[in-house]
Symmetry: C2
Subunit: 302 residues, 2 copies
């Protein structure tokens, strides 16, 4: 087993997580969550989304949140930008990275954003161009790289196709997302392998959902391929609103516990991270959706 000695985690809780809450979370709470994440040692945080509040009212406070964060040196704050209009609005808030997105499944692309994969990427081209011209990094989120709620299994060739399109328009690094959490280690490795046709391994992030409890074994399988960037969500916030039953971003706590147990550095203080997760979970009136957080909170309760 050849494993990285250090892993970079991107916490997507404030955006991917809180976007899925029925009741919008106040900007002040989101800002506090970001502050707690960076205090815990997170150096990449997906903060918000510049989409129409008509579609995603949960992120209507995007500018307020970005403006309210006391930025910490060395931390990268990223935002989702679905189109040029969103990008222009995002630009004013000085994100370090923007995120564009596409699905490896045609059916998902059509149902989710009402166009083909190729069309979706074409629409993102000017956004990517504008971001790069403004000196802002660009990440591409590739959803449904293993399975699709409408199509079932997704072939690695479709992942390679999407990764190729992302590369063509100038995307600098990509997320290999198992959006509905159906992946298992060998299938996830095939999706990553397909992505490596177009991106260096250091420009690949694993994004695994825990719907079927597979996120950590998939993370281990990806680590064994040399992947060292992963996305996760504090307290396991969020999921996929488009796929019924497909809740379950893997919790950052569970990922950090495994990595530290394997001697892999993350720069994250697990106790402070559990505190951050407890803070937002308390606000939402539920327990953290994280085995590690629950075990540690139980232990603390003595």
């Amino acid at each position: 087993m050849s494993l990285p000695s250090r892993v970079q985690l991107i916490d997507v809780g404030p955006r991917d997580g809180l976007q899925n809450e029925k009741q919008p979370v106040p900007a002040a709470v989101k800002i506090e969550l970001v502050h707690r994440l960076q205090a815990a040692g997170l150096t990449e945080i997906e903060v918000t989304s510049f989409v129409s509040p008509k579609w995603v009212p949960q992120m209507a406070d995007n500018a307020e949140v970005m403006g309210g964060i006391q930025r910490q040196a060395g931390v990268r704050y990223s935002v989702l930008t679905p189109n040029l209009q969103g990008f222009e609005a995002a630009l004013k808030t000085r994100p370090d990275e923007i995120v564009v997105f596409g699905a490896a499944s045609e059916a998902f692309s059509h149902k989710n954003i009402n166009c083909s994969i190729a069309e979706s990427i074409e629409r993102f081209a000017p956004v990517v161009q504008a971001a790069l011209a403004a000196g802002i990094a660009v990440r591409g989120a590739m959803s449904c790289t293993v399975g699709c709620p409408y199509e079932g299994d997704v072939a690695p060739e479709r992942v390679a196709y999407l990764a190729g399109l992302m590369k063509q328009i100038g995307v600098q690094r990509v997320d290999v997302a198992d959006t509905i959490g159906v992946g298992t280690p060998l299938r996830v490795q095939k999706a990553i392998e397909a992505t490596l046709q177009h991106f260096d391994v250091d420009h690949v992030c694993g994004h695994f959902h825990d719907t079927y409890g597979q996120a950590l074994s998939n993370t281990l399988a990806a680590l064994q391929m040399g992947v060292r960037n992963f996305q996760s969500s504090v307290a396991g916030l969020g999921g996929c609103p488009y796929a019924k039953g497909a809740t379950g971003n893997v919790s950052t706590e569970d990922v950090v516990y495994m990595l530290h147990g394997m001697g892999i550095a993350t720069g994250i203080d697990l106790d402070k991270l559990v505190d951050a997760g407890a803070f937002i979970s308390d606000f939402l009136g539920r327990k953290p959706n994280s085995n590690v957080a629950k075990a540690i909170l139980n232990k603390r309760a003595g």
Copy 2:
């Protein structure tokens, strides 16, 4: 990655699981659970324990349960036997395998069974001898092989020591159990490596708890060492009554899902297994403690 093409699962739910229920479960329900497990394709089932009902009232119906099972050819029914008296009682019920046990942690051994590791194994010697003389297989459950609730980290040397003692008294195969679920892949591999000093890999079973969400990544790490026997508990029944907060046998459903997703055969019908887990969970008045069972039941609910 060199992986086995077939894995043998031992469901410990009826014993290790139901032993931890405050309210004893009626014998008829236990028998029905065993019937449903074998109907789902399980070929090894840990049925009950022949311990004093004073200590474990949940298993007081051991003979009734063993007597009530309609046995299926090719299925191995195992029972726990802590001493000769228990073994004599068990013998009348014709188990295929008995289970003796020991801890890799001295502190745990003292707190749990009030004697040293060496003493505990010495006491088991006549039980093992009697079982082998009667043509009954013998398995040794090794607890706390990674961490101990009283001692913290457990060194691989302690695992090797326990495995050696087990081998000496005639135990044929052993479980490497992470009783409190604190293990991560590399540490679990070290515990297995230590065990392999005394047992062939085909005589090693992985038994991982999911307390910190690590059971499946640990399973993957063990598979990669060639281990192909694993214990798990339908619906994630049970845990460890001796370690606070240490609930969490990994669910058989989650393990089966991962294995099948990797193309590894188990002979188990996942849908029927989910039914078996739903049956006992319904009886207990709660949801299965299994990501896969929840996801599949959600999906069925449409």
